[in-house]
Symmetry: C2
Amino acid sequence: MARDERGVTAQSEDFSNWYNEVVVKAALVDRGPAKGTMVIRPYGYRIWELLQAELDRRIKQTGHENAYFPLLIPQSYLEREADHVEGFSPELAVVTHAGGKELEEPLVVRPTSETIIGEMMAKWISSHRDLPLLLNQWANVVRWEMRPRMFLRTTEFLWQEGHTAHADEAEARAEMELALGIYETVARELAAMPVVPGEKTPGERFAGAVETITIESMMRDGKALQAGTSHYMGTNFARAFGIRYAASDGRDAFCHTTSWGMSTRMLGGVVMTHGDDRGLVLPPRLAPHQVVIVPIMRGDAAAAVVAAADELAGKLRSAGVRVYVDDQDQTPGWKFNEWEMRGVPVRVELGPRDLAAGTAVMVRRLGEEGKRSVDLATLPDLMPGILDDFQAYLLARATAFREENTSAVDDWAAFEAAVATGWALALHCGKPQCEIDIKALTAATPRCVPLTGDAESGQCVRCDAPASYGKRVIFSRAY
Amino acid sequence: MARDERGVTAQSEDFSNWYNEVVVKAALVDRGPAKGTMVIRPYGYRIWELLQAELDRRIKQTGHENAYFPLLIPQSYLEREADHVEGFSPELAVVTHAGGKELEEPLVVRPTSETIIGEMMAKWISSHRDLPLLLNQWANVVRWEMRPRMFLRTTEFLWQEGHTAHADEAEARAEMELALGIYETVARELAAMPVVPGEKTPGERFAGAVETITIESMMRDGKALQAGTSHYMGTNFARAFGIRYAASDGRDAFCHTTSWGMSTRMLGGVVMTHGDDRGLVLPPRLAPHQVVIVPIMRGDAAAAVVAAADELAGKLRSAGVRVYVDDQDQTPGWKFNEWEMRGVPVRVELGPRDLAAGTAVMVRRLGEEGKRSVDLATLPDLMPGILDDFQAYLLARATAFREENTSAVDDWAAFEAAVATGWALALHCGKPQCEIDIKALTAATPRCVPLTGDAESGQCVRCDAPASYGKRVIFSRAY
């Protein structure tokens, strides 16, 4: 199939190739030299910074403080919590030599920081007055991936990891939910991803957790992406690391801990939630350039047009809009393709005739409204609203897409059909072996038991045993 | 010598112990489990965030973009630049196993990122139109340290590293100077450190650089701290990694590259520049709490006093001041000691009698003005100016201290005396062996050839050979 060298494979033809090509051609990311590593290029990193700023603001606003813990963790720490070491052992990168010598004890490059933070919490907490301890860390982590995909599964990724300690279960569970609420808000409001919050089934829990809750989002190929998770650890890590406190009555007790994380994987989610065959589509709140102005530079009028474009850009900036004037020496058509590939939400074209008429031509990235002639004088005032509209449009579009591709199913044939293209809402027995069977037959896994699902009972869609959870479970193939 | 359990060793008694105690007792940092690693606690991390925000703003304002490169670098990359590998080999941490297997090629945990960024620059740059390429990265790096000190020399630290590629030497050298200018400004204006910019002698250059420039600052024990460095690499890394471009005349040429870094070491610099026997002294622009309000809660008036403290805090916050109300259940004396240890610039005491009179008691951290009664109504308006004054006072105090402890010396006896307690400004032959001899005799090294020094010629202070550099060199013991 012939296609422009600068274009990408159609989503309908091969979604996986489409993704791999878009993230590179939109200059988000490049392959690193070591297996499965990525280089986050400036355009991709700026998106991360925009997400990070809002996430950091909300984490601080809810009383958490940032700190930083060491990258290298003694291997023995991982072994103190049995489920945790079992879950993470296959993915560890291990430093065996340092400073020209073999180390007495190998050091693990952190895959997550429960163990080292648990060790420090045990040191810092002695009384109920030290609780709750609400910490967050922005960091890189390393998990050796067998089938790496840029942003989605990379050997190294960036994230924040919240770690908290509490006096009792109720407070720790409330914390777990608070963190997931922040993720849900950030995913919806910034990434325009209509995520579904829910509880993980036991087989899909974090290694060492008593309960894991998650936000799951549907990608444009119908698969699910886990976009953030929050865990209640019970006293598992407190027992392993000795995180104890003296209660107000003098009684000695173990803390209840939580952890929660959101990562650069969100960038892959944005790409697969909104992108199309012309490339990336960025929600305005995460777009490095919310508006690109392309001056149409013809003959004598070129200088005047560029000057007008710069003036417009200045006014848009004053209105709080992130804007870029593309006055490179390329044809307008080349630039249109380039900024469509890079997903800029709004393009403004400004030529000599527009300028004479006091207008410009505006087009939104999805082109769903066609090209519109707009008044140059009022555009700076209107643009924030135009961007808000497009942000809302993307969320509504993704929500409609998810709803269209989600089916409540009650028999196996309908289940198989549903998970071939989207999500199935099905009753399930909750047995680990049944989950494994379903995965073997369809590649689908239980993504979550939605928090908001209606109460329902009946038989397992696969094995006819009595259903568990008291409501339907989302099953889907997943990233 | 008897001292309060909550106090610290006097600086005059043992500066090194004073430092080690202050960074822990002020809750900036804690020891990590792996050798030489540190945990940056929330209070310390907040200082880093304040520094980071301003540094990031200035780096972006000058046209640099943030990106992120992998932590793990193939060992062979390090070996491509001969001086670079020689300099860093002894300090490397090496991952030999990952994903449960031995790796075919060991991966080095980045000690700095010239090599991996050089590899990517070679891929991204092809034409003069791609230049200059101006990148920055916020990251952790690992260098195995034999004699770790919190913040100053730790196995892992946080920093930013700028990496740029240019068409010619003049532009690259200008970039190197631009970056050092940013460091000088941030050090002076935020950290109140009166740094001296200068050029490193060949023996003190970065491994692989053609020229290294530095900002050096005097600590309160008279030693020097290198607070930031900027390097012109010539075409050394461009040749090692193939960073080439086609010039406008079609000629193929190597890029000229630079790199520059500032790190969490700055926190150690702040501690040792301003601290005293009662603990930390923070410049207001880097203080997590610029003002602490201690309500004096006696009897019936307690609730009214706390309410008034909260009201004052609200008004101070509206005036842009970072303020904390300490209404913990402790004595005022305990709190005064605590916030002095933590270096809060201004303390406001508010008791029932003050409240009745519409006043409060204010004292600056160094106590150099004594306690002052201030009008509650006007305090919020005045506080930003009070903080600016204290910021300026700290810079002036540190500048005076540096000048008092810096001596221009022309003979060896005077040199030895000068570097025993401070800095010596001396003529030097520039010979590596003479630098080594001086270090062996006095522990002093050439810190830099100040950029602003007056032209001067004569004989080497140590060996009487003709002086090099055309001006005096700063010699000092250093961190």
